[in-house]
Amino acid sequence: MDVFGFLNDVLGFLIDVFGPWMDVFGLWVAAILTLCIYSFLYKDNPFYRFAEHLFVGISVGYGIVIAIHQGVIPLAWEPLVEAFDGLWIEITGDVTPESRQALWGLFRIIPIFIGLLFFARLSPTYTWLIRYPIAILIGFGAGVAIPNVLQANIFKQTQGTVAPFDKIDEIVDPTTLITVHTFDPSFLGTAGAVLMVIGVLCTISYFLFSVEQRESYKWFSIFGIGLGVIGLTLLFVDNIITDGLTLIEIVGFVLMFVGVLGGALCTVLYFLSSVEQRNTFNWLPIIGVGFFILFIIGFIGIYGNTIWSGTLTPWEVFSAVLIVVGVFCTLTYFFFSVEHSGAIRWTSKIGIAFLMIGFGAAFGNTVMGRLALMIHRVGFLINDWIGSIIALFG
């Protein structure tokens, strides 16, 4: 009889004899170890250290056993054994469909061999072989992760940041009870939107300092701004002409138009100016803020009605605006290509406030989580452990 078989028999015997008491024994062990761990709150002591080391040791040992039983045996060992059985049958001649199917298990030798190369680390001579499994793991990981992470964490999140604005002019038609947009873009509006996108791309390219800046770049950006302005004009004209707007909405559109145009102009001038020029024209950001206020007034003029009676509640509209402001300001804080002075400094300061609120929420939740662990342990000690003692003597 091998050692494991003997141990198995001994354990089986102990479970048969002490089976009914095992739960009680487990309860006492858990309670005493819990108290050992909490004793650290008074001061460091040998009981705490014993429990801590026991926890680490058992965690690792248990993890390895589970990994072998749930991973190595069913995924590597059993298919390989079945494959060799199948190979033997193939040689001896009693071939069955099952034995032929099992032969596919032989292919598992390749990943098993690559996995075993991790142990090459133990040999100074062949330690270099570990590069192969690591390279495969990193290659596989990066190949799988990059497109999916981009999709889930960049594209979807960006889309989610601006998505609520698509619903901002949505109302429920009282006659048909169908959700409709108040301002539907026509061909003119769509063309304007496309021009604006091209304009934005051209303008952004001006700020791409990773490539050599040429004189033509400046003209490229001016061309971009021009396209953006034409696009914006088309977009607003489209809304004014085609949607049969009220006077307030028309005024709103004009104010928004002036606000966006003026704000964009101020921002571009600010970025293009040198530090000395910025000191001279220090009123530029204030004018920019003025245009931004015009934009807000125009926005309320156009969407004021749908904010109160549309599908989104005013709180949802506020949340949507807050998210955009938060994202913009926080990103500005991490934008180190320009000096953090003037308007940029204030924007990044607002970004810091958003970051602090985020960290505060995370910290508060962490405290809540830690308390939950304590409540669970106290509940165990009072209800299960002390409860069982009372039940025993009561």
Partner: protein, 271 residues
């Protein structure tokens, strides 16, 4: 007096925290609970699933963090069994296998659910990525047998379940970043609907996914468990835990305010 307060032995705070946890445990108090939107969304999603649908429950937490996910698992499984929804359990954590197996059996027994017909526990397979991606193609390729070593082909409720296409929802009961892995790989690549029941520590990380619809719903910590129990009208461990936690939170808020007041008073005194 102020100096004494500022230099107070931290063990007094530990003692106070212990008292506000022990007293409500001994004398249970029921505080009102209002259901938040993320929990309501998850409940509504499961509620609208037709009887016979399959949901997958991923027990992705360790023994050291089971306090919050376990009440969530109990509440959701109770809901599923009451509506005839089948539950497929699995875990990405090796240390959770026996815990999850025992928990599923216990809840199933309480709800008269039958193994193999109403629920199944697949167990654990190593590697997060290969498991999540592999099940998208064929669950049997990753878990050829369940935790009790029964081949999947012999389990009645798995007869029509090949991959994520037959699973209406994956609920990740998580204490770490596994929910993000499920979103990135199972939701993005296979369009599997994901919900989360997470420990309080990672709630803040999950809200962006909720806003974009990448999560159909979420149970945030003890609060989420208590809210779900309220929706089911079946108060359990989550409700008890949340009530106790409320007193501890109150104590911490008072301590934070006192600490700040004392700090500013001392600074003014020094100036």
């Amino acid at each position: 007096m102020l100096e004494k307060f500022m230099n107070m032995d931290r063990r007094i705070i530990f003692l106070l925290v212990a008292l506000v946890v022990i007293i409500p445990t001994l004398i249970p108090v029921r505080l009102p609970i209002t259901v938040s939107e993320p929990t309501q969304k998850l409940y509504d999603y499961i509620e609208q699933l037709p009887s016979g649908s399959n949901i997958m429950l991923a027990f992705d937490y360790g023994p050291s963090s089971l306090a919050e996910p376990e009440p969530m698992a109990k509440a959701v499984m109770q809901h599923c069994f009451s509506r005839g929804i089948k539950v497929i359990g699995m875990t990405l954590f090796p240390s959770t296998v026996t815990l999850a197996d025992r928990l599923m059996k216990k809840i199933a027994d309480e709800n008269n659910a039958v193994y193999g017909q109403d629920y199944v526990f697949l167990g654990y397979r190593p590697g997060t990525l290969p498991v999540i991606l592999g099940m998208g193609t064929n669950i049997a390729n990753v878990f050829d047998k369940d935790y009790q070593d029964t081949p999947l082909s012999e389990i009645p409720m798995m007869a029509d379940v090949k991959n994520y296409d037959q699973i209406s929802l994956l609920l990740d009961l998580a204490s770490s970043s596994t929910t993000e892995a499920w979103i990135i790989y199972a939701n993005t690549k296979y369009d599997l609907q994901i919900a989360a029941g997470v420990t309080a520590v990672i709630i803040a990380q999950m809200y962006p996914y909720l806003q974009t619809g990448q999560l159909v719903g979420m149970m945030p910590g003890y609060l989420g468990a208590a809210e779900y129990e309220k929706l089911l009208n079946a108060p359990g461990d989550g409700t008890v835990g949340l009530n106790t936690a409320s007193f501890a939170h109150l104590l911490i808020i008072i301590l934070v305010i006192l600490g700040n007041v004392a700090f500013f008073m001392q600074r003014r005194k020094e100036a």
